[in-house]
């Protein structure tokens, strides 16, 4: 899987809500299409996504074949403490991609 795009503010005031935006390039092949020779194209999607903040789960998503290519998520979290926000994507091939950003809470 390629490197995802992540948009998280570097600094947030304690107690404030902030937006997390992430996009990962992925074909999200639904398993319902056929190739030029009429053969079914096997399903290959990212089926789960997890976000932790300071080691604690703050957002989890399950994806299905109807999710479009290059899944883009926006959600918000509340600033508690400075720490690491970790994102995890897992696809049908069993590949898992991690990425993380640091956030400073003032």
């Amino acid at each position: 899987m390629p490197r995802p795009l992540i948009n998280v503010p570097k600094k947030v005031k304690r107690g404030d809500a902030f937006d997390i935006r992430i996009l990962i390039a992925h074909p999200m092949e639904s398993g319902q299409r056929r190739d030029d020779k009429g053969q079914p194209i096997p399903r290959e999607i990212i089926h789960s996504f997890l976000c932790t903040y300071g080691g604690e789960e703050v957002f989890r998503a399950e994806f299905f074949p109807a999710i479009s290519a290059n899944p883009f998520l926006t959600f918000s979290a509340r600033a508690v403490d400075s720490g690491q926000i970790v994102f995890t994507w897992t696809d049908d091939l069993g590949a898992t991609q991690f990425d993380s950003v640091e956030i400073t809470v003032e």
Partner: protein
């Protein structure tokens, strides 16, 4: 069902048709671009007895094809200008005003000078309008500092002049919209020619093309050309690489995506579009902002006796291009002439050809043939094609010259 409807129409209209034998049928064409001008002239050719009125507020038409060359300083604006002098000679009445209202029931157009024009059939060719506000921050006022140049004219010259004034080592950011919009390969030709300008005149400057799409017209041809001609000058950021522009701030000079904020020296924003405003006023635009049509006659699916051609129409597989508008104009003129004669219009075959320049001497093309199928205009597979990916430079140079002939032919067809 169709036969019944035609039979009924024929029966009801038999009397007025006789009555009208004394007075000619009246067709009003709204919009004097490639579609409208071609339609008015084509109708005069195929139905010389029909009274044709063209409603167009501007005395001068600025052609969009090749306007990217003007922006890049490769062509004079005078070469883009056309007038309506030949229309009167062809027996077309030109009303130099804008259509402000259309009463589909009364079959009447009201124009900006207050006059009303009655019609038997109306051909609407209103082109596109910008969906101001669809891209947050991009207003009509913002276009004065972040030009769109997506309607040729003063905006073209503004972008040209701003490009010429770009500081050494400056940054240009372009934004290309999601489909559908006027001229699908246009943003990529423009990016190419701006890159050509930068490479030639401001070698340390850079162009970033932010795109709301992952795929576009003639993509591999363009990308091959960029690799060969503009490495390090032109960077394309696709949708899946975060290229979708979500907001601009003209006062601050910033262009925002979900992941970056750019502060370029020059921003060229090609905004989201919809059918020209008169289409919605006439009730022929649907919720998408574009106009559903019958693919044989181009008659609106929403209002009878109003035909919509060109960029404003939902033309299935046909792109929103000058050549497509011209082809549709000819097919529509024939259908309108047939309908006025109470004849059943034949299924048209429509052709689109479109040239793009990646550099002044580097051209390539796409051609398509279309026919009505399942209620929409559909691409006939194997009938068209694109330039070869591995063509030698001589072929690219030849296609650039063909592009120039293409422009001469199509403007002569539309404007005389």
């Amino acid at each position: 069902m169709k036969t019944t409807r035609r039979a009924v129409i024929g029966g009801v209209l038999a009397m007025p048709a006789v009555a009208r034998a004394q007075s000619a049928a009246r067709v009003v064409v709204v919009g004097g671009g490639f579609g409208g001008a071609s339609a008015a002239r084509a109708l005069r050719r195929v139905a010389p007895r029909v009274e044709v009125t063209l409603v167009e507020p501007n005395a001068t038409f600025f052609a969009c094809p090749f306007s990217n060359e003007v922006i890049a300083g490769l062509r004079d604006m005078a070469a883009q200008q056309f007038g309506y002098a030949h229309m009167a000679a062809a027996g077309i009445r030109v009303i130099p005003a804008a259509a402000t209202a259309i009463d589909a029931e009364a079959r009447r157009v009201t124009v900006s000078d207050g006059r009303t024009l009655d019609y038997d059939r109306l051909i609407l060719s209103p082109g596109v309008d910008f969906a101001w506000g669809a891209l947050p921050g991009y207003t009509e006022a913002a276009a004065a500092t972040m030009p769109h140049a997506w309607k040729a004219g003063p905006q073209t010259l503004l972008l040209r002049d701003r490009l010429a004034a770009l500081p050494e080592g400056g940054l240009v950011v372009m934004s290309a919209p999601a489909n559908p919009y006027r001229c699908p390969p246009g943003p990529y030709e423009r990016a190419s020619l701006i890159a050509h300008y930068l490479k030639t005149h401001k070698p340390r400057a850079k162009l970033i093309l932010l795109d709301s799409k992952d795929a576009f017209s003639k993509q591999r041809l363009f990308q091959n050309a960029w690799k060969a001609l503009y490495p390090g000058v032109l960077e394309w950021v696709s949708l899946s690489s975060g290229g979708k522009v979500i907001e601009v701030d003209a006062a601050a000079g910033t262009v925002k995506t979900d992941f970056e904020t750019y502060k370029p020296d020059l921003a060229n924003i090609i905004p989201p579009q919809r059918a020209g405003a008169i289409a919605a006023a006439a009730g022929v635009a649907d919720r998408t902002g574009w106009c559903p049509i019958d693919p044989v006659t181009f008659e609106s699916r929403l209002r009878p006796n109003i035909h919509v051609i060109g960029d404003a129409a939902i033309a299935g597989g046909m792109p929103k291009s000058a050549f497509a508008a011209n082809a549709q104009a000819k097919a529509c003129a024939q259908a309108v002439a047939d309908l006025l004669d109470h004849a059943i219009p034949a299924e048209p075959r429509l052709i689109n050809t479109c040239y793009s320049l990646a550099a002044p001497d580097y051209g390539f093309s796409v051609a398509g043939v279309y026919r009505p199928a399942n209620g929409v205009l559909t691409d006939i597979e194997g009938a068209g094609g694109t330039s070869a990916l591995d063509a030698p430079v001589e072929t690219r140079a030849q296609e650039a010259r063909y592009a120039e002939s293409w422009f001469k032919t199509i403007t002569a067809e539309a404007f005389g």
